[in-house]
């Protein structure tokens, strides 16, 4: 799974195992992966194949036991927790399956959350929030609360929150897993737009073959290794 052009994401010889009930269960035993900047990759595979572990490592919330993990110019495998938190704040956005919005915050406040970690004025934050809400088609609903909105709309808030700090990398964990087909297609179209027009590098874990069709290529994981790659026509 290598690319000839300079990779944006590069995993080399990554090993990861978990101790479960006194037994070490190996998830990856030497995983290699490169993803160029601006790619849109869908990762599919059966449960337990390592999709979530891969996504967690790319998000810097889990670390490989050995091997190297580089994103852009950052070696995540060598970073401590504080450095990884700072890296996430500035370089990565994440879209969750169940949106994971904070219920006591309005739409705009949810989207604004990652900007609290940046040295921006209140006015600058508001401008950015308005811009991304407009981008995801939720302009005018900034003051509403997520609980009163549909799943598709909530996921669009989640996407707005993920891109508001203008990260280079967007990680999506089953972003359409909780949506009907129509809403799912809207969300996927939006991801494709972000990839094609805003040059976001997207890694999307999904069980949905229809969702994978929106990606530029699809990687199939099984037992901790990539077994197949399909490129979009």
């Amino acid at each position: 799974m290598t690319e000839n052009i300079a990779p944006y994401i590069a995993l080399s010889g990554v090993r990861r195992a978990y101790r479960i009930g006194g037994e070490m269960i190996s998830i990856f035993s030497g995983l290699d992966l490169t993803i160029p900047q601006g790619d849109f990759v869908a990762v599919m595979g059966p449960s337990g194949s390592g999709k979530s572990t891969l996504l967690n490592m790319l998000a810097g919330i889990d670390s490989p036991d050995s091997g190297t993990l580089r994103i852009g110019t950052s070696r995540l495998d060598q970073m401590g927790e504080a450095a990884r938190a700072a890296w996430r704040a500035h370089n990565m956005g994440i879209v969750f399956q169940f949106y994971n919005l904070l219920p006591m915050l309005s739409v705009a406040e949810n989207v604004e959350l990652p900007l609290l970690l940046k040295p921006l004025s209140r006015k600058e934050r508001r401008i950015r929030v308005d811009k991304v809400l407009d981008l995801v088609g939720l302009a005018g609903r900034a003051k509403q609360y997520p609980a009163l909105m549909s799943g598709g709309q909530q996921q669009r808030i989640g996407i707005a929150r993920a891109i508001v700090s203008d990260p280079g990398l967007l990680l999506c964990d089953e972003p359409t897993g909780d949506l009907d087909r129509k809403s799912a297609d809207e969300v996927l179209e939006m991801l494709r737009f972000l990839n094609r027009h805003l040059q976001k590098t997207i890694v999307m874990v999904t069980h949905d073959p229809q969702a994978a069709l929106y990606a530029r290529r699809t990687l199939h994981l099984d037992k901790g290794d990539f077994v197949e790659e399909k490129r979009a026509a």
Partner: protein, 380 residues
């Protein structure tokens, strides 16, 4: 939105729980505010001076001192002025209506502590008009509803008149205000020559001498010198500052400071346990969301600050409410209660408030800070 606004919104997630927490904090700080105000003001110690010395008998305050001692005290070159008082306690109309009278020489009282008591030459002149004239403190006058020119009769508990009666009749010549709100004005000033002449026993003795040192003189050193002067006499003395004197006087009845500290300490320990317990549960309920915030890039310190900000907000609102109520109570309470919520008391209350806010938030904040993101995500 700001970081603090996020903490505030977190605090208001369950409004009833938050309101109940705030109410319990408010009650605790109301108790603190009132007890500290009592300690600060009720005895008049807040307004008492550290510079003015009181000379009493080393054998106890009920032991009289001969008037002749005054000349020896006044002879010390460091003494600027000396006064004296003889105390008379009694009641007006009913036994529960207790009043205190300090009988002295008004001119000397003016010289020694005129500023502290709010005495003026006009008041001293007014009391000098007749021997049975008295000056009444503002707090006592308001509590009794007395006016200038009114005649009052005080029935003494102990001090009998030479004619066998215990009724002492006075005419109010004026009202003294005290230097400020912290000055104890719940007493009267009578003329010593009148009381001394009419009393049955203990003539020409006083309960205490009051000494004002010259500017620049260390009161502590002068106090030691005065006590040394009478160490081998028939009436050895104990000289203290006015403040020490009043505090010691109160300790005769109870160590109010200790009682207040115990009451307040118990209230705060209980409060600490309630709030810590509630906050631990409140934060545990949100473990998943803390994982989300960490995933968005919030650092461990940021998470800790968020939870501490939340508890500080709850304490600021609850404690602030309690202190405002305490302040209102001190303003509305009768002057006889002598409650004074002064700036130092308020500053101490705010320091306790901040310390408790941080202490109660520390455990849940520490737990939230340490929770790994992956573990947090498993709690859904």
């Amino acid at each position: 939105m700001t970081f603090f606004a996020l903490a505030r919104k977190n605090a208001w997630r369950k409004p009833l729980r938050t309101v109940l927490l705030m109410v319990s904090i408010a009650v605790a700080f109301l108790i603190y505010g009132l007890t500290a105000s009592f300690l600060n003001g009720a005895q008049g110690t807040a307004g008492a001076s550290d510079d003015i010395l009181g000379v009493t008998s080393a054998g106890g305050r009920t032991q009289p001192l001969p008037m002749a001692m005054m000349a020896r005290i006044a002879a010390d070159p460091d003494v600027a002025a000396v006064g004296y008082v003889m105390r008379l306690r009694g009641f007006v109309d009913v036994e529960k209506n207790v009043v205190a009278i300090s009988a002295g020489d008004p001119d000397r009282l003016l010289a020694v502590n005129g500023k502290g008591l709010g005495l003026t030459p006009a008041l001293v002149e007014a009391i000098g008009q007749a021997r049975d004239k008295v000056l009444v403190g503002r707090a006592l006058a308001e509590a009794q509803g007395w006016r200038v020119g009114e005649r009052v009769t005080v029935t003494a508990f102990d001090m009998a008149r030479a004619d066998g009666g215990r009724e002492w009749r006075f005419e109010i010549a004026g009202i003294f205000e005290g230097e400020d709100a912290t000055t104890d004005t719940y007493f009267m000033i009578a003329r010593y020559d009148y009381v001394n002449a009419a009393r049955a026993r203990g003539k020409d003795t006083v309960d205490a001498f009051i000494v004002r040192p010259h500017a620049g003189v260390a009161p502590g050193e002068l106090a030691v010198r005065i006590d040394t002067l009478f160490a081998n006499s028939a009436t050895p003395t104990r000289t203290q500052s006015e403040k020490q004197f009043l505090e010691a006087f109160l300790r005769q009845y109870a160590d109010t400071g200790l009682i207040v500290n115990l009451v307040v300490g118990a209230a705060f320990v209980t409060l600490l346990m309630i709030v810590v317990n509630t906050m631990v549960f409140a934060v545990r309920e949100r473990t998943f969301e803390i994982g989300v915030l960490k995933t968005l890039g919030f650092s461990r310190r940021g998470i800790m600050a968020l939870i501490l900000g939340e508890t500080l907000f709850v304490f600021a609102v609850g404690g602030g409410l309690g202190l405002v109520l305490a302040k209102l109570a001190t303003l509305l309470a009768g002057p006889a209660l002598g409650l004074v919520l002064s700036l130092p008391v308020l500053a101490k209350a705010l320091a306790i408030l901040a310390a408790l806010g941080l202490a109660t938030g520390a455990l849940p904040a520490f737990n939230a800070m340490r929770t790994p993101i992956i573990k947090a995500f498993r709690t859904r």
